[in-house]
């Protein structure tokens, strides 16, 4: 233990989505303060939607986030439909599941291969892998491409998918292209099993008691169900807001939340802890030994959970595509044009909630709860524990700084934070 004052500054943490700052002050060898600041410039979507026609809003809010645009699109559509009594057809629901799976495959693959894998290999970027590990780049691109192709087939595009709309899909799925999509998914399945095995062998560990919250669905399809917590709560999607309290983060262009008065974690790890029984039978069969790790309170198991979710997305998609005849359908129509209601789905990074007030077809107000924003308090407390732990060790100031920077970046990355959503790159500044 030493009694130094330490001011460290890392600008723009890389390999996450968006910008944020983290200020850490160490005084007399003890942690004084951790300030987690989302520095993404706000683009004022809450204000921009006011007065807009309901049908145009989902495509606009899709622009909140490039990587999980499909999540914003889908959650907002659900909120519009519940508000205006629009009942989507069974086929529409199936197509939404496929669209969501396509996002999970490519979004989780980007995080695991491009953001996390370099930390495991001790390199800066996946592009820097030594010659004998070049297969990893090919694997990464192949898995992403299978997800991307599925997005194109079902929803028109992976980013800002044009076909998914209020009441239904504007284009039918081209059945002739289904066999190739299934073939593509079957081809990457062994690659994904290899990825799962890789992450199961990762010995990184960080534990701190917390509450996990997720929307649980009976087929693990991320869309419709009950919100549950490991603390034993079970609530309806529309009531989620009533259980949350806003937490203001000083100097940050985002706010966070607590759930029932306590910090909590949302995302793949929460879903795996609360809902793994609902995974696809083929996933459960082939990932059995890895699933034995859950429930887990090791934050780094969020990476393993994401890899298992890719497998599930592949398995359920194959089953749907091989057993469904798709037909042309008209979009479902609204039962009314005025009302207020909410919808929630599981986005790649956790529960995403949209609440809308609509009057005569025009949006009067919109409230949203973003996954990364919900994780910020938990993330901050984890960082405090890590820094305090290093402060207690007998190390030089340089070692202390190096250890903190390395471990804190790694931990924050495990959350797969998206600052574009929480309001975008993490800049870490230490004072």
């Amino acid at each position: 233990m030493h009694s130094c004052n330490l001011d460290v500054e890392i600008c723009k943490l890389s390999k996450i989505e968006g910008h944020a700052d983290l200020d850490i002050k160490i005084r007399d060898g003890k942690l004084k303060e951790v300030d987690l600041k989302v520095m993404e410039n706000v683009r004022f979507f809450n204000q921009a939607v006011v007065g807009m026609q309901y049908s145009a809003v989902p495509q606009l809010v899709s622009r909140i986030c490039g990587t999980c645009s499909i999540a914003h699109l889908t959650a907002c559509i659900e909120a519009v439909e519940k508000t205006l009594d629009i009942v989507p057809s069974r086929q529409t629901v199936t197509l939404r599941k496929l669209t969501t799976y396509s996002m999970m495959i490519r979004d989780h693959a980007l995080h695991l291969y491009f953001f996390v894998m370099p930390d495991i290999l001790g390199i800066d970027s996946l592009l820097d892998v030594p010659e004998d590990k070049h297969d990893l780049i090919h694997d990464a691109l192949a898995v992403k491409e299978a997800g991307n192709n599925l997005s194109e087939l079902v929803a028109g595009r992976a980013v800002h998918a044009p076909y998914e709309q209020v009441g239904g899909f504007s284009h039918e799925i081209d059945e002739e292209k289904i066999p190739a999509a299934v073939e593509g998914l079957k081809k990457i399945r062994p690659t994904v099993l290899k990825l799962i095995d890789e992450f199961s062998k990762c010995d990184w560990e960080f534990r701190r008691k917390t509450n996990f919250v997720a929307l649980t669905t009976d087929d693990f399809s991320f869309l419709e169900g009950k919100i549950k917590s490991t603390s034993g709560m079970e609530i309806e999607e529309k009531d989620y807001w009533d259980h949350l309290h806003k937490v203001v983060l000083p100097y940050s262009q985002a706010t966070s939340f607590d759930f029932e008065g306590h910090e909590y974690m949302v995302g793949s790890l929460a879903r795996m802890n609360l809902n793994r029984e609902s995974l696809h039978a083929n996933t459960k069969r082939d990932a059995e030994k890895y699933l034995a790790k859950f429930p887990s309170d090791n934050v780094y198991d969020n990476n393993l959970a994401q890899a298992i979710e890719i497998l599930h997305a592949i398995d359920h998609t194959i089953e749907i595509l091989e057993n469904t005849r798709f037909q042309k359908e008209e979009a479902a129509k609204p039962g009314r044009l005025t009302g207020s209601n909410a919808g929630a789905i599981e986005a790649p990074r956790g529960t995403l909630y949209y609440a809308l007030e609509i009057e005569e077809g025009k949006v009067k107000s919109m409230k949203l709860v973003i996954p990364t924003a919900q994780n910020l308090v938990n993330m901050k407390k984890n960082v405090e524990q890590i820094v305090s732990g290093f402060c207690a060790l007998d190390s030089t100031k340089e070692e202390l700084e190096k250890n903190i920077v390395r471990e804190v970046s790694k931990l924050i990355r495990a959350y797969d934070p998206c600052m574009s959503c929480a309001s975008h790159f993490l800049r870490v500044r230490w004072k």
Binding site: Q47, T67, S69, F114, D124, N148, V159, H424
Partner: protein, 155 residues
């Protein structure tokens, strides 16, 4: 091609959803391995930590210039690159990320405190309005074929 002859490419996100950058990683699925024969990625925070903004051959820039910080960054990029390509409708037209430019008085009142606190510019600017741009690729996000055709002209 030796490392020294490779074009130095930077990919930058100003204020936006990073959708063009993310879509670019999807275009990479089929093109990256081939391009890496000709380019060195020296700035792309989405996939690497060690980045530099100097002596660039091509800078691809998405997003709008909404704050003083954005303005300082785009001016630095311009001063350090031979070719600057505006990527996506935000960089070309300032929309949708600069949607505050079209707000009415009530909407503006709600956001004025935030604009001041975080040193936003009076108006969000497209990259084209902020600095000289050498080429542009439309789309929200960018169109795959247009991106490939334009980018390959410069590498």
């Amino acid at each position: 091609m030796t490392e020294n002859e490779k074009k130095r490419v930077g990919i930058f996100s100003l204020t936006c959803d990073e959708g063009c950058g993310i879509f670019l990683t999807e275009i990479f699925n089929r093109k990256l391995v081939e391009w890496l024969e000709k380019i060195e990625l020296v700035y792309f925070l989405a996939i690497k930590d060690h980045v530099e903004i100097e002596n660039l051959d091509v800078a691809l820039v998405e997003g709008v210039v909404t704050s003083e910080r954005d303005k300082a960054l785009i001016e630095k990029i311009r001063a350090n690159t031979k070719i600057l390509i505006a990527m996506g409708t935000c960089a070309i037209t300032a929309l949708p990320s600069g949607q505050r430019n079209n707000f009415n008085i009530n909407q503006l009142k709600e956001i004025e405190g935030h604009l001041e606190k975080y040193k936003f510019l009076p108006k969000a600017l497209s990259v084209k309005e902020a600095v000289k741009v050498d080429d542009e690729i439309m789309g929200c996000p960018i169109d795959r074929e247009k991106f490939i055709n334009t980018f390959e002209k410069y590498i």
